[in-house]
Point group: C2
DNA sequence: GTAGATGCAAATACTTTGCAAATGG
DNA sequence: CCATTTGCAAAGTATTTGCATCTAC
């Protein structure tokens, strides 16, 4: 009684839960997104999807990321440079991005205080908090006397 | 000995200080930018410039905002919606933006804590703080029991 | 006088869309 | 089956650029 089938990717599961029709193309794109640990733009998603299945067009990638964004499964990011970047929506623990201005690399970090602070700020301004966009730009320091890099989640593109 | 001439706009002064050649078009665009208290996109800057002087092309507006951004006189913003928005760089006291998700209106606010917090975060991650992009998205609350709206700077588009 | 700025239109870059053919539930 | 989705190419936006002409310094 074991289902002998290629494992459903995490994002594919979410698609099914949202009642989306799972075409071959969507399955591939969902898989690419599930396996990505960076912030690919559409062109890059298309490239990765093509390497898994050649019968995908870039228009479908555009349509799919738009759909998944509307469903709240994906989040669109803008790190400058014109093109939108995508990453899977995370449930509770939000993270933010530090962009290395010298090479464009992106480091994710968490900061529980930041959201707390901004929730209070929204409240004071008479608004209900919806979301927060927080991007830090910095240059890597040369000398590293401190070994600790707390809250660091990883470095990607 | 009084110079009888149309007052130099603040941004025009900055242009001169940066050694830019002051053409008629640049003077007009500088004036429009100096007088703006909102976050106009290129199309809007072009419209305002045209109303002061008809011999300006949109290409020049694009070229000028790019130049002024490179010189650090202007800052480019992205509030979603595809087009870049511009505002004059402020010296010391930075402000951030709260975007009303219902109507796209933008409210500026200050928060000394936010930058402090992010400077420390950058430091912990081994980076030298360069800048911070912070945008808050919210919905206006209905009932307003609190009269105080501290740090509020103004509401624009 | 001359390096640099401008206008115009064509080019680019990213994204969306119309339509006929293909397909998932 | 039939409502949806897809591919393709054309259309849309926002922005940049080549080139001849103009202009600030």
């Amino acid at each position: 009684m074991v289902k002998a089938q290629a494992a459903e990717s995490r994002i594919e599961q979410l698609c099914v839960e949202h009642g989306l029709k799972m075409t071959g193309q969507r399955r591939v794109i969902a898989r690419v997104l599930s396996e990505a640990d960076d912030h690919p733009d559409v062109e890059e998603l298309y490239r990765r999807a093509l390497s898994l299945d050649s019968r995908i067009s870039v228009a479908t990638v555009y349509r799919t990321v738009r759909l998944l964004e509307e469903k709240g499964i994906l989040e669109r990011r803008d790190f400058g440079g014109g093109r939108a970047r995508y990453e899977a929506t995370e449930h509770g623990h939000h993270h933010y991005h530090l962009i290395d201005v010298d090479n464009g690399r992106v480091i994710e970090f968490e900061d529980p205080e930041a959201e707390e602070l901004m929730r209070r700020m929204a409240d004071r301004l008479g608004f209900e908090f919806v979301s927060l966009r927080l991007e830090l730009f910095g240059k890597k320091k040369k000398q590293s006397a401190s070994a600790a890099t707390p809250h660091r989640k990883g470095e990607t593109t």
